[in-house]
């Protein structure tokens, strides 16, 4: 699930990351990245956070009907899929479309979960256009303090 551990939310790294992706695109330096990584601008954008007890995935998917969203876990792969309706009608004599940048149509993102993720304990919420999925870690894998007698 970790594309790179050297990823910090700062501009410098964002820029280096972009350059790395572009260079890979032109067959230049090939630094390793996740096999499921997709190009910049994929919909929905995903952030993954980690705590000792859970893995948290935020998918930035505005304007979606949560009932039409499909979230599944199969053999350690979390899949977020759905479809986004268009707000832009057909262009006609009386209607001009100047910009059509927002994602439209079916989408799918796949995230590989770490081994200690428990597929039985998953919760998903949709708020302000963000799907938040919390996958609990198995208790046996959680850090434990061992008493010395």
């Amino acid at each position: 699930m970790y594309e790179s551990l050297l990823r910090f939310p700062t501009d410098l790294f964002a820029e280096l990351d972009r350059m790395q992706r572009e260079m890979q695109g032109f067959g230049g330096l090939s630094l390793p990245s996740s096999i499921r990584a997709v190009g910049r601008g994929a919909f929905p954008a995903i952030n993954i956070g980690s705590t000792p007890t859970a893995i948290r995935i935020d998918a930035f998917a505005p304007g979606i009907d949560p009932a039409k969203l499909s979230i599944s876990i199969d053999r350690g792969l979390l899949t977020i899929a759905g479809e986004r309706a268009s707000d832009v009608p057909e262009e006609s004599e009386k209607l001009s479309v100047y910009a059509h940048e927002r994602a439209v149509g079916p989408f799918k993102r796949v995230v590989s979960l770490p081994e200690d993720a428990d597929p039985a304990r998953v919760a998903a919420t949709y708020r302000d256009g963000v799907v938040t999925i919390a996958v609990q870690r198995r208790e046996s894998a959680q850090p434990r303090r061992i008493e010395v007698k």
Partner: protein, 125 residues
Amino acid sequence: MSEKREVAPRTEERHSPALVPPIDVLEDETGITLFADLPGVPMDRLTVRVDGDGLLIEGEIAVETPEGTTLAYTEVQTPRLRRVFTLSRELDTTKSDAAFKDGVLKLRIPKAEHAQPRRIAVNVG
């Protein structure tokens, strides 16, 4: 409506890095409709401001994370979204109307009445 390049930011806050939200812009006979994707922005962190002929859309992403979270992978790396436009004179911003739901802003700016299409009767002399 044309997009403004931020060559000379007017205020300090505009120097802060921001993501550019994707938009749809439509025009019909009565006005312009703009849709902007601003996921993760709560209603109280959204700013839609008309300043002269300028339109500013700015939002701050506020996604709550539990304490002790370490970011393992991030595609949204800047918690701010911003886009600036210049409007043209025939648009009547005083009558504009905005709705914000599930991270999608819909902004409608009607044309001033004098700019709306009118049928001109031709008299036979």
